[in-house]
């Protein structure tokens, strides 16, 4: 994919880190404030997409990162099922909230909900990013 102009590259350099941090904040505070794994994963994937759109990338690098994104998506899904299965093994019920609840409004509270949020964010972010890469690679096929 071709890169964009110098203005876009400069602005992207400034903003992309903030986008990434904001996405992580939305994910990690999913059980305390509005947001969560789905929204935060999309924001993190948006940071990656912005970076690639602005700076461009090689065909081979895109292929490699598409493979990596698929692997991460599978890891996210397996993590989510793993949490559910560990609840089944430890407490005897699928998806039971078996971890201690903690005090409300603390970052480490609400049992398994923050871990579920992290797993879903990996899954959604990597999935969206791999869809973006697949659709970007289609342009090359049309040009070939």
């Amino acid at each position: 994919m071709r890169g964009m102009s110098l203005i876009v590259k400069t602005i992207t350099n400034i903003t992309v880190g903030f986008m990434f941090i904001y996405g992580l904040y939305i994910i990690l505070h999913g059980h305390l404030t509005p947001g969560g794994g789905f929204a935060g994963g999309v924001i993190v994937a948006g940071a990656f997409v912005l970076k690639i759109l602005a700076f461009g990338s090689e065909r081979s690098a895109e292929k490699k990162s598409a493979t990596r994104a698929s692997i991460f998506e599978s890891i996210g899904g397996l993590l989510f099922i793993g949490i559910a299965m560990s609840a089944l093994l430890v407490a005897g019920t699928f998806f039971l909230n078996f971890l201690p609840k903690g005090t409300p409004f603390h970052l480490l509270s609400a049992g398994i909900i923050p871990f579920c949020n992290i797993a879903i964010s990996i899954k959604v972010g990597a999935g969206l990013f791999s869809i973006f890469l697949a659709l970007g690679a289609m342009k090359y096929i049309m040009e070939d």
């Binding site: 999913g30 059980h31 305390l32 404030t33 509005p34 947001g35 969560g36 598409a66 698929s70 998506e73 899904g77 989510f80 099922i81 559910a84 699928f94 998806f95 909230n97 609840k101 903690g102 005090t103 409300p104 409004f105 509270s109 609400a110 049992g111 398994i112 909900i113 579920c116 949020n117 879903i120 899954k123 959604v124 999935g127 791999s130 869809i131 697949a134 659709l135 690679a137 289609m138 096929i141």
Partner: protein, 177 residues
């Protein structure tokens, strides 16, 4: 309650027409009638968001089916050329499954709350028990990741499937030059 039964019988008739009619365009339209009857029933039992989703999905499916039929063929050649025995068998099966379906529906409609009572009972329980039972202060996260986590697992599976579909459609391997 009676209107639900009317819609159910309408759906059954439309479904039988959809499988037995020779003109594929008419079959697709009767299939759409089934879907829209489901949407109206969702509204009647006070689930408007599900009704909206159902209408969107139904419109999309009917449009896609019509687009495919306009490009391929109108007539289903296999209908009407059956042997007599299989025809009788299919009529018996239709009747059997219709009666079975109506019995199941009657049993489940007995569980519906009486006219005048609130249909939505689960939401107030979620709001009441959200913080004490899960410890999370964001009630939406409590619902989707604790009370209804299995639902979220299904949603994640749908996303996974769609990603696999897009990647498989767009890959270069196996594409004709």
């Amino acid at each position: 309650m009676i209107e639900l039964y009317l819609f159910l019988i309408f759906m059954l008739i439309a479904a039988i027409i959809a499988t037995e009619i020779k003109d594929l365009l008419a079959a697709v339209i009767s299939l759409g009638a089934v879907g829209f009857a489901v949407a109206i029933m969702f509204i009647l039992v006070q689930a408007p968001d599900l009704a909206i989703v159902q209408i969107v999905v139904e419109v999309l499916t009917v449009v896609i089916f019509v687009a495919v039929i306009l490009r391929t063929t109108h007539i289903d050649e296999t209908i009407g050329k059956k042997l007599k025995g299989t025809q009788i068998l299919s009529i018996v099966l239709y009747a059997f499954f219709t009666i079975l379906f109506l019995i199941v529906v009657f049993r489940s409609f007995q569980e519906l709350p009486e006219f005048g009572n609130a249909t939505m009972k689960v939401a107030s329980e979620y709001i009441k028990l959200g913080l004490p039972q899960t410890g999370g202060t964001n009630i939406v996260a409590d619902v989707i990741l604790d009370f209804r986590a299995l639902d979220t697992l299904g949603e994640a599976t749908v996303l996974f499937t769609s990603v696999i579909g897009v990647v498989a459609l767009m890959r270069k391997v196996g594409r004709k030059k």
